[in-house]
Amino acid sequence: MDWPAIALSLRLAAVVSGVLLLIGVPIAYWLAFSTWRWKFACEAVVALPLVLPPTVLGFYVLLALGSQGPIGRLWTAWTGHGLAFTFEALVIASILYSLPFTVQPIASAFAQVDRTLLEASATLGVGRLHTFRRVVIPLSIEGILSGIVLTFAHTLGEFGVVLMVGGNLPGITRTISISIYDDTQSLNLAAAHQTALLLLGFSLLALSIVYALMRKPWAVAPLS
């Protein structure tokens, strides 16, 4: 078993999930509650990684992060070393690639919160931030947890984007999927099998958690 690759993937998934939680919740809130007429364009951009081949996304991210790219140059000026083929590059690429997996479940949970509850909160003298914390978040908690679990599982199993942006540097950018690919290429099928089975089990577990969370515990009995 390629433990360094597993550790790296877990670290990557944890960092990406954490960052995406911070930026995904505000984006989801805006998508759920904004009435801006061009909002659909933003929804399309957020959903793009769902349909875009990972190589295409990886290619553009690589151009942007490379030594000649805008982000790459800024990074080099700031830190003194390049960004491509580093763990940080993996994090940036994975954030973009996993964005819809965080935003969509959370936005959909926010959108399902009854608007009258938000109006009721306002008429009780409670401001928006407080309403968000006391009403929107608790009623969307399943969606938020689903988003995190999906993001974590998705990042853990990433392959194409990681290969394009990070390459295959053991301990730095060699993730579980790349380890499986490598083992298969070198006909080390037993090792590939072990790692693949681990990933399969984890993915199944993650999805089970998501579906279990989707059950609504706060169902209100209808008024007779």
Partner: protein
């Protein structure tokens, strides 16, 4: 403190909400059919909808003024709002729902005020339960308590009791009246139930197609409709065209002849001259049926007619009787059977003077 409202809001090309009124402390009923603009009116006062133009103020405090560019956000209006479907927070207990609007206050004060209002509305026993675990009437009381506990400057209720049985409605209405005896804030209560109008209202505003069509005490607006549309709303099945033929101010009555007939009806006196056209509104349930000409009755209007059809509508028998013009009469199935009523039979209709409501014929 008085709630002053003068707003215009176009809801569709054909519908304009255009209301100007002062709501004094006490309960004012906003009565009207669905789509008359009642809820939009309340939402404008609460800040949940924005008028196109106008001004809303409670006492000296301006909540909205289109010219001055003032539009106080809902959270700062101190306008309590009880929603038709309550909008209780499903993840919070009844106590947390009630204390929700007091979250800026110290916990001890919040708990004390929650307990006090719960006791006065008799829901202390459900405080630890969530909305999904209590009855409809209890939920209604929690919704009311949640708004009352914040000490609003004005209270807006959007058909809050429509889902409840009459007994529960009456008890909650009594509690609300009692609460307001001490506060005397303007309460706007939207309903389309006549029962609630009489039980609660000190004043009724009748809203029709976005405008106030009548304004007065429940007795005046509901019992002696000044306009035909009011009669239709208040459930008068019969609206008969008539002409005033005699006035007897000393007796407080007048006589009107139904159009295209020789039938005359004695009605209460209204401000109409001899020869004026008006309509007489009569509830189908206020008309008695006899198979022989009655004698020795106090009722002044005894009219001959012929039954043209009989049909059953729920627990009521509807008889359409021709007296020169068609008139609808409601009876119980037992009286219909006892009198052996059939289409084609001649009958006598008995109507008390005060069951005939003259309305203007617009």
């Amino acid at each position: 403190m008085t709630l002053s409202v003068c707003i215009r809001k176009r809801l569709s090309p054909a519908f304009l909400l255009d209301v100007t009124c002062d709501i004094e402390p006490g309960v004012t009923i906003l009565f009207g059919e669905s789509g008359s603009g009642k809820t939009t009116f309340l939402r404008c006062v609460a800040g949940l909808a924005r008028p196109d133009e106008g001004r809303i103020a409670v006492g000296d405090r301006i909540l909205y003024d289109a010219h001055a560019g003032i539009d106080v956000e809902p959270a700062r209006r101190q306008a309590g709002f009880v929603f038709q479907h309550l909008a209780l927070f499903p993840h919070l207990t009844a106590a947390e729902n009630i204390g929700y609007g007091l979250s800026q206050r110290p916990a001890s004060e919040r708990l004390a005020r929650t307990a006090a209002i719960a006791a006065s509305l008799r829901i202390a026993h459900v405080l630890g339960r969530r909305p999904g675990q209590i009855s409809g009437g209890e939920r209604q009381r929690v919704g009311l308590a949640r708004s009352l506990v914040t000490d609003p400057a004005v209270l807006l209720l959007d058909e809050p009791l429509s889902a409840l049985d009459h007994a529960t409605q009456s008890r909650i209405i009594a509690d609300l009246r009692q609460w307001n005896e001490a506060r005397r804030i303007p309460i706007l209560y939207v309903t389309h139930s006549q029962r609630e109008v009489f039980a609660l209202g000190e004043r009724v505003l009748l809203l029709q197609n976005g405008a106030i069509a009548a304004d007065g005490t429940p007795e005046r607006v509901m019992n002696a409709p000044a306009q035909e549309s009011v009669a239709q709303l208040a459930g008068f099945e019969n609206l008969l065209e008539a002409t005033v033929v005699d006035r007897r101010p000393d007796a407080g009555v007048m006589v009107a002849r139904l159009a295209r007939t020789n039938v005359t009806l004695e009605t209460p006196l209204v401000d109409a001259g001899t020869g004026d056209a008006l309509r007489v509104a009569i509830r189908a349930g206020d008309i008695l049926v006899a198979t022989e000409r009655p004698r020795g009755l106090s009722a002044r209007n005894i009219i001959a007619g012929t039954i043209s059809s009989l049909s059953r509508e729920g627990a009521t028998i509807r008889a359409d009787v021709h007296i020169g013009v068609p008139i609808e009469v409601h009876l119980t199935p037992t009286s219909s059977t006892a009198l052996d009523l059939r289409p084609g039979h001649d009958v006598w209709l008995v109507i008390k003077t005060h069951s005939c409501h003259p309305v203007s014929a617009i």
